[in-house]
Symmetry: none
Subunit: 407 residues, 2 copies
């Protein structure tokens, strides 16, 4: 069944309050990431949030929130407490708070049965109970789970109760609070190859620089938030050209795939220390398959020789983390997978594995392409995860620069 095109933006009333239910939030075992995410979205829509609260997922918690909302009016968005287990008492408390009974909603029941059929599973009674809604409330379609959201709108009031699982919470909010391009007050740009310090230096005399927001991201490329007003975006783009990957917030991987697609060319990878992460990042982009052929994860040296034709003598002489091996990996992947381009990564992610002259964080990247071969050496300075993320980003940056320069 198609999702209802329910748009709750016109029903948003101030003050807007967000609440998250969950004992684990109050034991500090998990942070409430849903509320800040929704607060940012509502702020962009012109509905600033007045308060956010985390309360236990116990009997009485939802009732207290509801009592305040009934007294004060405005909008209340509650996340959590709609799971299939009996201790998820939120729906009962809302019904009690609204003074209505719980009744099975036919549309909600149909969604659950359709999901059951699609997943070829048999849901338990707890899941079927998720079709029970306080009388007079509307179910809100959940594209990623069984528990529908619950919406109650009246004059000067809006109540929305959502499952707390982050991807379900967000998917529902994206549908009911759609963000128009026109609603945005700023653009997200993607940068790679310069850090916050260097950026500050490059922009030291740039008018309006204090209005820019810099959000470092080792893995996907840094994000620069550029307001639509008060900044000369054309001049800024010119100043940042050597590092400016996208003016539409796309990831480095998506931009590289687009550049290759426009050229009708294909890509293969050969990975050692990243263990598959470079391929995983590229294939996280929907539609990667018309450009990305695949790759070889050559974690063991025998795999480098068997599947990438890296000469065993090279590994013995120079070590697996070396320029010669990185270049041979790229050439091998290009030949074996018959790609136009091949990108290779070898390095020491840590915490172990350092060798004399090759500290943890040593990276050798190589790119082989039509009439092109390039090598870069980098030194990463984070932990294992950070070093691997950095390696992927540097590899994609090497390919991005080379594609920009390619004829």
């Amino acid at each position: 069944m198609a999702a209802d095109r329910l748009d709750l933006r016109p029903r948003l009333v101030a003050p807007v309050r967000l609440a998250a239910l969950g004992d684990e939030l109050l034991r500090g075992e998990r942070a409430d990431t849903n509320s800040p995410w929704l607060a940012a979205r509502l702020a962009a829509l012109g509905h600033p949030v007045a308060s956010i609260v985390q309360v236990p997922d116990r009997r009485g918690a939802a009732a207290d929130l509801l009592a305040r909302w009934r007294e004060e009016g405005g909008t209340l968005v509650v996340g959590g407490g709609l799971g299939p287990t009996p201790d998820d008492a939120t729906r009962e408390e809302i019904a009690t708070g609204l003074g209505v009974p719980l009744v099975e909603h036919p549309r909600a029941a149909a969604w659950i049965r359709e999901r059951e059929a699609r997943l070829e599973r048999r849901f338990g009674p707890g899941t079927l109970r998720q079709a029970l809604l306080p009388a007079g409330c509307e179910p809100v379609f959940n594209p990623l789970g069984t528990a529908p959201g619950i919406c109650h709108a009246a004059a000067g009031r809006l109540l929305l109760v959502l499952p707390g699982v982050p991807h379900e919470y967000r998917a529902i909010c994206e549908a009911v609070f759609p963000l128009d391009a026109a609603a945005a007050a700023a653009e997200d740009w993607t940068l790679s190859g310069l850090g916050e310090d260097r950026l500050a230096g490059e922009l030291a005399d740039f008018p309006g620089r204090e209005a820019l927001g810099f959000y470092p991201n080792l893995a996907q490329g840094h994000r620069l938030r550029v307001p639509l007003a008060g900044v000369d975006r054309e001049a800024l783009a010119a100043r940042l050209a050597p590092w400016l990957v996208s003016q539409r917030g796309e990831s480095l991987a998506a931009v590289v795939l687009d550049l290759l697609r426009a050229r009708g060319e294909t890509l293969a990878v050969a990975e050692s220390c990243t263990g598959g992460l470079l391929g995983a990042r590229l294939t996280a982009v929907p539609g990667a398959s018309d450009v990305f052929l695949g790759g070889v994860v050559s974690y063991a040296d025998t795999v480098k020789t068997r599947l990438l034709d890296v000469p065993a003598g090279r590994i013995a002489d120079d070590g697996a983390v070396s320029e010669a091996v990185a270049r041979a990996m790229a050439r091998g992947a290009r030949a074996r997978l018959d790609g136009d381009w091949a990108l290779a990564v070898t390095g020491i992610a840590g915490p172990g594995g350092a060798r004399p002259g090759k500290p943890v964080g040593t990276l050798h990247l190589a790119l082989a392409g039509p009439g092109v071969e390039r090598h870069e050496r980098h030194q990463a300075g984070w932990d294992r995860d950070g070093n691997r993320d950095f390696a992927v980003r540097q590899a994609l940056t090497l390919l991005w620069r080379s594609l920009r320069e390619a004829p």
Copy 2:
């Protein structure tokens, strides 16, 4: 000057409420990480937190919090609003709320002057203003900044106001709420293969089940928080044996690598829809290299035939997402990489790519090992990322079960 040995643990009174002040928290630009951190610490000390709230850093916010605390009693810890800028009005509002004037506290003034001398700087008047405290309040030493905390303790009440800068907030709390080693109250178990609904069914009659916390994780295996008291952990482990991956919170990938290491065996992978994510998860575990050989990311069909010896006819007849191709990928990876075990994943991650009879989320997994070959078909029901995470977890679960049963 040495920090005062101020221990506020004996003065903690229920209910304990935490509050964070900051406009940026309500615009979603920054999450409140202080409160969950302190909540975990206080829970470990036996003082569970009753609520956490984020409110704007505007005139009136601290006054509202204080009014509720005066009415209700208990403990209130407020973070934020003690900075040097004039819009940080918290200290004035506390003084007003307590009905006392602001007066310079000699100890607080001395700390600021000493810090000025140590850093060889000259502080501005805003910083010196941080020595002003509501009369009758105690300053709390801040080892990492100029703004001291403010403490007010009376019968049945404790108020603590702290700077919001995370490292200052935490350093002060570590000093005034010291944590003994004996304080750990629960274990984290890792489960795979059953969801929340099924778990509730399995434990329907299990004494103490309401004290367990279940945290779903598609990628790494679900987490079950098991308190050390009030639950028969041995009986629980027996009941959950078919799904119990670890009683020490290890990830599924780490457990699988340990099982293989103990057997002296190696692993290779062949990935299609996961694009390298399975290898990336395995190699995220430090020390994976003595077990994990590597793999082939066969995103394109030509790579399946060239590098994994999957018969082209099989792909033409059954499709790339099929039992026959998954089995051939596993056999091919095992032979080409010379591994003891090989795990293969092929599927449709979405959003595109559905075929008649093969909806988005269709997964075929295969495992080839010493005298063993297994296949599983699964149906995933999330978005692209979720389906890929699910595929990795199911593949690792298949290997984990097979290793437990292997002679």
